[in-house]
Symmetry: C2
Subunit: 227 residues, 2 copies
């Protein structure tokens, strides 16, 4: 069973290791002052798609930092492989003089975290016949629960614009009484949550709302500019 509950139970043990950093150097009183997490596993070091993915993650590090998201990669390769491969990744993104990546790569050689978090892909195996880590994406909220989970096929590189889009939605909806509609991007109109009474709407959404008239006469399609 892959319901959210399983992941939520598994995630905190790893992410608690960053507890010390959680209250550091943040402005504002909203949820942004506590850290979010992005954990991405990849099948193997020194492989084509993974190199383009970790290169993009490195380039996007400032975007994740801006959103207070700690990013971490994971595979079953060794620390030595991670160090060697890091040079290739930096060369690929045109940063040959840089020695490190702006995020850690976990060397899960014994597959302990991969098993715990359900990241192994039974259909992708190494030369010894052992399963490789899947191309997984987990976004963890400051409450240490799983918010987004994606398992991409081994053939298909991830879309980091989509990951950032969902994080923007998660951070907005964590502190405002809205949800974001299909294909939403930061700055676009949002939807008022169904449990907000008509009386509270004016107070909560001073920019106003637009209610779409529907055959059922139910008033649940309430749009508002992004609060």
């Amino acid at each position: 069973m892959r319901g959210n509950g399983t992941r939520m139970a598994a995630a905190p043990q790893y992410f608690n290791s960053s507890t010390k950093e959680r209250h550091r150097n943040r402005k504002g009183a909203e949820l942004w002052d506590i850290r979010w997490g992005l954990l991405c596993s990849h099948p193997a070091d020194y492989t084509p798609v993974c190199t383009t993915e970790l290169g993009r993650m490195a380039k996007l590090a400032p975007e994740f930092k801006k959103r207070n998201v700690k990013i971490i990669a994971l595979s079953i390769d060794s620390v030595q492989d991670h160090h060697g491969w890091t040079k290739d990744i930096n060369a690929y993104i045109g940063e040959s003089s840089v020695q490190n990546l702006p995020f850690p790569i976990i060397a899960d050689e014994k597959r302990e975290l991969a098993v715990q978090l359900g990241m192994l892909d039974p259909s992708e195996r190494n030369k010894e016949g052992l399963p490789l880590t899947a191309r997984a994406v987990f976004v963890i909220g400051p409450d240490k629960t799983l918010k987004l989970s994606i398992l991409y096929p081994a053939t298909t590189g991830r879309n980091f614009d989509e990951i950032l889009r969902v994080i923007d939605s998660l951070q907005l909806t964590a502190c405002k009484k809205v949800a974001t509609p299909v294909d939403w991007k930061a700055g676009e109109d949002c939807m008022v949550l169904p449990n907000i009474s008509e009386e509270d709407v004016t107070k909560l959404f001073p920019k106003g709302i637009h209610i779409k008239a529907l055959p059922s006469s139910k008033k649940y399609l309430r749009f508002t500019p992004q609060p």
Copy 2:
């Protein structure tokens, strides 16, 4: 555990019901002549984000048809609710005179499929305290195995451009010896699979390849125009 294996075991029983349609009216000898599947669950009928999502699915039905993808929605609401809500969805997308959607919505009132496929979200419950279906996306290949799995948060509408992007990659890589790099879109350069020998490259990729020189001297970053 949410590894691919679990889903793969669960998916075929439902998707086998479309066996009859699998060989119908398709041209070409590639994998497109067998059907793909997209199964999307949503928390509840008559709710804001779900309405925008199913409206977008209806608008995109020709895109899925073009890719030979059978699309299906699922929630724990009744058939009667699905019929009433369909009118709202069509009104929302400006198709008030249309009575149906171009895809079925499964009425999984007893939560049988939702439990079988791990689609219930323990943190989202109805008035009776029973768990609702999560905002899940499953893409199933013609071999009846799970290819892509996404669990979006209840607050965040899906991105159907991303779903189509992954389907394009899956259908391409199912019949060509390439993978697609991070953020790839249809028509952009692809990557030669690591298991293709240098000798086979010329034969398989007549448009040529570009090998990126790397500090490790390994030749795994091989780009080629989309075959």
